[in-house]
């Protein structure tokens, strides 16, 4: 991204506070990465960089969107469609597979990760550890979650968020333990 485009984007995010603008930029970038991931893109960061670059360029040309996030999402959608078309053409040339290519890796947890997870679970509070383990205990997750939410007397979506936050802590802990 050109310096001019980057500065224009920061100004749009917060014209008065550059630090805050930088924080908002990183948040927007992270969210766009997630959206590209959920669309099945295997290189979301590249597409996000392309998106933000294009948004910055347009802003530097004095385009004034009402909502920078929505504007960025609109640009992201175009970038995604371009990427799909680009990839489809490449795939057609290669005459193989769907886009995006599905990873051949189907990750089985290795021993190091399992041990790291065990250690990280020990760092949780007892109730938190119980919760996250019981949540993942069943082979029939949907029914199991409903039952668990009834037992705990909390809405199922609150339960889901609670477990998600614990999973996120565990994931961060594991990566830290593995030195990633």
């Amino acid at each position: 991204m050109s310096q001019e485009a980057f500065e224009a984007l920061l100004r749009e995010l917060d014209p008065d506070d550059r630090d805050r603008a930088a924080e908002l930029y990183l948040q927007l970038r992270r969210k766009l990465i997630r959206v590209f991931e959920w669309r099945g893109c295997s290189s979301p960061e590249e597409l996000v960089d392309e998106t933000l670059d294009r948004v910055g360029q347009r802003l530097a040309e004095d385009v004034k969107p009402n909502n920078p996030a929505s504007y960025a999402q609109g640009v992201a959608r175009h970038i995604y469609q371009e990427a799909v078309r680009r990839e489809a053409m490449e795939q057609k040339r290669l005459k193989s597979g769907d886009w995006p290519p599905h990873s051949p890796e189907d990750p089985e947890p290795d021993d190091r990760r399992l041990e790291a997870l065990r250690d990280c679970l020990e760092k949780l509070g007892q109730d938190q550890r119980r919760l996250v383990l019981v949540y993942h205990q069943s082979d029939s997750h949907i029914e199991h979650r409903k039952k668990l939410s009834n037992e705990l007397g909390i809405p199922i979506n609150a339960l889901r968020i609670r477990v998600h936050r614990l999973r996120r802590r565990l994931a961060e802990c594991i990566e830290a333990r593995l030195g990633n």
Binding site: W38, A69, L114
Partner: protein
């Protein structure tokens, strides 16, 4: 900003499974960028789908979509590995280690600044009437359960203020036999402000607002209808809540159609029963129309969790 419930979870799940139309997707994705809660909820649904994928609970088509969408990146594959690991360890764990329903020890009153719900201005389509932190729940029951409650209020900068209660003419709805006269709180937290002066209390019209727990699947929401006499001076909204172990609570009230109509200085007080909270607003400022209330619990780590919501219609 509108918060999310089980109905949204269905939408999010369908999004991740590639079941939404392009139009639905185009409506949803900008919301993901604007609404942090929705993004977090999407990540939670993603975690559930990965757990189901890991256990082979999805249909063949769903499995293909999850594999394509959620494990295309290294980060996605790490999430899947975590889901598998958790399942493996969980099934090694003795069954008796079931989580208990939340049992919360009696914490001290905290005077720390609550982590206020701070909606992004661009997303504030609804009228934010008040965001108020209510201090620790068990304190309400334990400290004040048999006495008129201490007042826990918002001083407009987000700081909880604990006041000793004035002689409180408990309204008929809340009055319980055998209530004792007020006594000073036995334990005064450090750096809380003690105000002993009684304050005048208008006779409010009580409006009960039982919340829905959020366990619904996109069905049409029942709207409570509440009639308020035309000569009422104040309306007291009463929101029953269960103890779910949160350190504080917040209420967000969305108004019907006048986003400029903000109630400043909204105060939260615990119900006399200790099992909910109440707040008063001038009746003259409450117009007819559809409102929405959302209650959040704040965890020890400062995160908000939606407890429940309710839409209600005020008729004068």
């Amino acid at each position: 900003m509108r918060h999310t419930f089980e109905g949204d979870d269905d939408l999010l799940r369908r999004y991740l499974l590639g079941e939404l139309s392009e139009e639905e997707t185009a409506r949803l994705e900008p919301r993901l960028l604007e609404d942090d809660r929705l993004l977090e909820q999407m990540e939670a649904v993603e975690g559930d789908l990965l757990a189901e994928y890991a256990q082979g609970e999805l249909t063949e088509e769903q499995e293909r979509e999850v594999g394509r969408r959620l494990t295309a990146t290294e980060e996605g594959r790490a999430r899947l590995a975590l889901a598998r690991s958790l399942h493996r360890i969980a099934n090694e764990t003795p069954a008796e280690q079931k989580p208990r329903a939340t049992v919360v020890p009696m914490p001290r009153v905290s005077s720390r600044r609550p982590s206020w719900y701070a909606p992004m201005a661009a997303m504030a389509a609804a009228l934010l009437l008040g965001v108020v932190g209510l201090s620790v729940w068990p304190q309400l029951q334990g400290r004040f359960g048999e006495h008129p409650p201490a007042e826990v209020s918002n001083n407009n900068i987000g700081e909880a203020i604990i006041r000793t209660p004035a002689p409180d003419p408990v309204s008929p709805v809340e009055a319980t036999p055998g209530e004792q006269p007020a006594e000073p709180a036995a334990e005064t937290p450090v750096s809380t402000e003690i105000v002993t002066a009684p304050e005048p209390k208008p006779e409010p019209v009580g409006v009960e607002l039982p919340l829905r727990s959020g366990q619904r699947s996109g069905e049409a929401q029942d709207v409570l209808r509440r009639e308020v006499p035309g000569n009422a001076e104040k309306i007291e909204f009463r929101v029953p809540l269960r103890d779910e172990g949160f350190t504080s609570y917040k209420i967000v009230l969305y108004g019907p159609d006048r986003p400029e109509d903000v109630f400043p200085g909204l105060e939260l007080r615990p119900l006399a029963s200790g099992r909910g909270l109440r707040f008063q607003v001038p009746a003259a400022q409450v117009s007819d129309g559809l409102y929405r209330i959302e209650a959040f619990g704040v965890t020890a780590s400062g995160d908000d969790e939606l407890i429940g919501d309710q839409e209600f219609e005020i008729q004068r």
